[in-house]
Subunit: 389 residues, 3 copies
């Protein structure tokens, strides 16, 4: 019998283990390149919530994007009183403090209107770091930004970052599942320009998912496996090509290596870390470069992927080289082409029931870990102002 | 806690007082510029109903836009028998009388087919006046057009009209709420080119909504109030500008004036009238010019706003001047720019719960008045043909 | 009272007699021009089902378009093992046999993975004929293609075909209803260039719908009727035109003729046959040319109409003439203009209640016949592999 829609419950595989459609709340997320927020307020949607970002004398604020008076989006308004940290609704000038969402004035009622003390919109903890605007969406006071940021984004003295963002037309969970060493890489990226002179990535490995020592994520080391096999009825996979006879170097050779240098510099025991709420750290053993990919749920069917390329500071000349190398080569070869191979597939995914198998041990372990260990609301706390900045 | 969709009931503030999503039935509404209906029938949607308009030898008819035979839109058909006042369905030539919607012939069955006496589509009272097509949508016989038309649209001997129509992507109720002296004007239009050399409009007035003497609408006079104020923590609003030191003239000065001349010419005691089913009359004290704005619900999220500019006839030279003045200046400065300031905001409105306050006394009074006083179906009458023309 | 949406049940007239929204299952349907399926798999939707078509070394296969592993569309994949008749999912290389939908390998798990024996996707019987790809969508084993194909498509030795396909934005049932001699032709096509020098088609005929001798469809002969009439209040229809004084020839004259020659060549007693699951055969008495129009439901609101023009083989010179005549004249005059007149109307049809009448005797008879006689699932059989090719 043919598949019928009735048998498909798109969220079923995730709901069983508590991984929500719109993302884990109570975490900091990157939401926008800081340079894209100028003098005009800007509407964003994150985790299904509509939020206005505005910048007054450099400082960024984030509020719920609806004036409670007559319902107009605050993002249609403006900062009418520069320096006061407020935004005024475009309709009747209700003016809200960015700091806590409280109403500073209902302009058209004149000063000291009684309504002022009774009104508040939802504020969001927001801050700027590494050229990005970071937002805390949740049901509790914001945690310190440092709790959620890897050192090489947080530590501005030792690292600088270049970010490339792209929107995926899929749910965020499909992207994070893709980061659990589910063996898609050997297949999807087998002929990627980035890996073409490296040995084919291994597959059919035995996976041993482990929770990271800090409890904030998992690693998915694999052992054994094969780089080529003969399949009955089909033949050999992958097909031999001239460029596969090169000496193994690079990622293919280094996948399981944990160099001393990397540990020293990054304090990162594990070069591949998939972390809550939904990001992956991809380290390089030589320790000069790290890629952080962050999947940010905008709505149920759209995810913004931030590729945050982190470089170690080595003086201006090396910095210049790193920037040019990224601009001329790495952005194209990884952020566009390599990640584009994943994007194409993830956008063709029809959510529903799955038939998971041995290569999905990482997927299964991750979902269970994430659903069970994501930060929960501090039930005792009431939501006030976050300590983001 | 953040706003959740569950707490938002978009229609709630209106349903409580009986103001319907698709507009008040049993009124005449303008629906189209008459010059836009030529030889081809034309489909329109008004108050969610799909209607075909057609013109046969000058006379306009309006019927339900679906042939009951096999369901094809009558607007795909044509007037096959000019002069008969009928429209023929494009599929099998079922031919309906525009006058009452009855079936005149089922062409492909030959003359005198038995089905003819059994079929009728819904007719609508329709007529042409002031360059516009007017339609009566309701559950009762149409009232005389004059009952619903202000004199300066109705009285062709003394006034002529120029109309500018624009579709708003919002519900009609938001537009009419905007006409209740809710003090948005002083904020939204404060720097409008139309008012730039006038004093800032007053705000924080004490509002005294009153039902008009004829019972067909309300006026919202305000008294006292201020034109500028110092707000704690924020500073002065509005900021002083050089052009505000001009001597008060024009609308700013005249808002509360009721000149004898206006009363004489217009028989209009009140220069601002918000009337059922959803229009505003904006008179000028000198009595030469009046703007009627009419909010016509097309569907729940689209409203057609007719700006009907009415001029007193003073001979051809003055008429020419008025037309040129409108074409070169007033259309741009008011119908495009000034109204555009409202349009931009109303299209950014997210319907739902509100927190009404002192400046919304007019809004509250209007909704209650409109819900309670809109024309009701004459329960004893059956719907036949309207007396529109 | 005006029509309200509550009274409209779009499917009501069809549901009563068992004619399904998405088409009759268990028939062969044309789905795509064969030349449009190249080396890349292709996604199609037919009868609401999403299917991947792929071609390996010439042979075409069709499978359900979703990999059961992680849900990615198989149409995003590729034939990684040419000659094996398989398609590999783009994500992890799960490789399915086109022949029966069974899993041949889960590449990334290595050879002989245990999951292989447990997985199958829905296969569809598919084959190529007359330049078209034919698909059997159903709940039973496919019948032989010949059972569903008219001879002049099936018999490649005696006929060749030229196909022109176009998508209609309407339900398939409206198109087939249009083929029941419901007298629309005399009205809709009255001034079609194809018929302009022929007498006006007759209308107001007495219809005598009959089931075809082979039980696979119906014919709708009419007798008597008129070519012109005087309608009270309206006048004469159709209006006289100079070109109507020509001697009756062509379709108008031949509608009820059954020439001996046609019977001999086509073994077709009836030049107009409306057949299950939803096609019409339009023969010409001289027997050289036949048009098959096939309405293929893609989804509830989209239908692909295949115009399969079938020509008798008479050697290369006559074949060349037929192709040029089609390319230069007949495609335009019939497939584009004549059928376009129907298309324009059918796309303006609002499904719902109908008021059927005498001219709809064919419509009523067809729906009842089709709902009652369409091929039913062979309840005893389990769906395996079809015998399509």
């Amino acid at each position: 019998m043919a598949v019928t829609t009735a048998t498909i419950q798109p969220d079923a595989p995730y709901e069983r283990v508590g991984v929500p459609t719109l993302g884990f709340r109570n975490y900091w997320y990157p939401v926008l390149a800081a340079r894209r927020l100028g003098r005009r307020p800007r509407a964003i949607t994150i985790m299904g919530e509509q939020i206005v970002l505005f910048r007054d004398r450099g400082k960024i604020h984030a509020l719920e994007d609806r004036c409670p008076h007559r319902g107009v989006r605050l993002s249609a308004g403006a900062c009418k009183f520069p320096g006061s940290g407020t935004i005024s609704c475009a309709y009747h000038g209700w003016t809200f403090r960015g700091a806590d969402g409280s109403l500073a004035a209902a302009l058209m009622e004149g000063p000291n209107a009684p309504i002022v003390r009774k009104i508040r919109v939802q504020p969001y903890a927001v801050t700027e770091r590494a050229g990005l605007i970071w937002l805390f969406v949740g049901d509790m006071d914001a945690v310190p930004l440092e709790d959620d940021l890897p050192d090489w984004i947080h530590d501005r003295d030792r690292f600088f970052q270049i970010t490339y963002a792209v929107d995926y037309r899929c749910n965020w969970r499909a992207i994070v599942d893709n980061w659990t060493n589910d063996h898609h890489a050997a297949f999807v990226h087998g002929y990627s320009p980035e890996l073409i002179f490296q040995p084919h990535l291994p597959f059919a490995q035995t996976l041993e998912p482990q929770v990271l020592a800090d409890g904030g994520g998992m690693k998915f080391p694999g052992r054994d496996g094969m780089r080529s096999a003969e399949f009955p009825e089909l033949g050999r996979y992958p097909r031999r090509t001239w460029h596969r006879f090169m000496k193994p170097t690079g990622r293919g050779a280094s996948r399981d290596l944990l160099s001393e240098k990397a540990r020293d510099i990054y304090k990162m025991k594990d070069p591949y870390q998939t972390r809550l709420p939904g990001l992956i750290l991809i380290g390089r053993p030589h320790g000069e470069y790290t890629l952080v990919q962050w999947a940010v749920p905008l709505d149920a069917g759209t995810t913004r992927l931030f590729n945050i390329n982190c470089f170690r500071r080595h003086g201006w000349l090396r910095g210049l080289y790193d920037r040019m190398h990224y601009a001329l080569w790495r952005r194209w070869v990884h952020d566009v082409v390599f990640s584009g191979q994943d994007k194409r597939i993830l956008e063709q995914l029809i959510p529903g029931e799955e038939r998971l198998s041995r290569t999905d041990i990482g997927v299964i372990a991750w979902r269970k870990f994430a659903g069970g260990n994501a930060r929960k609301r501090d039930e005792g706390a009431t939501r006030l102002r976050a300590a983001g900045d």
